[in-house]
Point group: C2
Chain length 213, copies 2
Amino acid sequence: MKNSITDRVINRLTLYHCILADYEIRGTKVISSALIADLLNIDDSQVRKDLKLLNNIGRRRVGYEVKSLKTSIEEALDFGKIKNAFIVGAGNLGSALAKYDNFKNYGLNILALFDTDPLKIGIKVNELEIFHPNKLADLAVRLKVEIVILSVPNAYAQETTSVLINAGIKYIWNFTPCILRVPATIQVWNENLAGNFLQFTINHSTRLRSYET
Amino acid sequence: MKNSITDRVINRLTLYHCILADYEIRGTKVISSALIADLLNIDDSQVRKDLKLLNNIGRRRVGYEVKSLKTSIEEALDFGKIKNAFIVGAGNLGSALAKYDNFKNYGLNILALFDTDPLKIGIKVNELEIFHPNKLADLAVRLKVEIVILSVPNAYAQETTSVLINAGIKYIWNFTPCILRVPATIQVWNENLAGNFLQFTINHSTRLRSYET
DNA sequence: AATTTTTTGTGATAAAAATCACAATTAAAT
DNA sequence: ATTTAATTGTGATTTTTATCACAAAAAATT
């Protein structure tokens, strides 16, 4: 039998990590799977199985050691690995993401922003310079950047993507509500914020609608 | 047999909607499940089954009508229903979200921001006033607001949540990397951005690690 | 020392989700 | 009119994910 760290598991691990970070600050030494599960409204055996995948061992009748568990999640999820990225589209969202200091804790290192607006070029956001996209390919090679956070207006999403592809970008974290056409070698993660919001409100406010077949 | 619109399905529907919006603008009248599936890298029968849940019917040998399909997703996901919300924490991210005009298309209507910083109070962001949180409970009742977008610094996440709970807020869209303790009557959606990023990079850059048991 | 309680670890089971395979339909081509 | 090709619709199957149930371990209590 094969146990792998799937997307689902990773997602939960990031949430466990948030809990552990909190408990570490508050000085708690040990935490139980039941407490983690309770905070996330999931099954406690699920938590134990997830942790087991990372080869964490708890102490029966005690729980898991907060600090080592947190470290182990950070190792499994490569918090320590520096992931250089550009932000393309220095509008409100792009600029806010450039200033979002929490990314650093997760190894995401933003090096520069790009925007076609002549008024923005040369300006700095959080110490990071805004360049014209025609500088992107060159800078990506020189700085070894393979990740782009895309936050351009919808109408420019696809054409900007072409620029990114030509520049050798491999990973696009897409904050636009557009589905990008990319070759199979390029990975896209759609962070469709407004869509997520609907998911949230529908599932919880109006409850699940069911249909009989 | 019961077929329900689960979280998973809703998530895909929001993505289908992005595609349909694009094809509608481009003047395409009809679209096939295979094309949608291809753009999202999923199975085409999956698309058809999802659409069937909303009672959409395609025409064999033709496909689905773009406009009516888009409308039907909007109806199923309640795009038309106005969902009033406050943004609590008028920092970079909160302010950017206040300016993010895409939310309106999905029915999300932001009415005001809240922040404890005296220098920010009274200032307007995108026509929306910033108030002190001690005004929140009163305004929430008067404006019938049950949704809060939470974007305060991590250290204040939990105590701010208490304020929200006392103010009668029912839905918290949590942009902080903190797991909030709330009573069961309150729904939280964790939009753990940095965590999502890890999910993206790990699963796609280093591929899945597998363990033999 | 024995008992009780708590918590992990995990096999078995159930539930949910995704994929496969192909019949049915129908537009287009011959 | 017939054939071909494309596309939906859907039952069957497989795969994945989550839950259940309980044994094993060990700390705490008696």
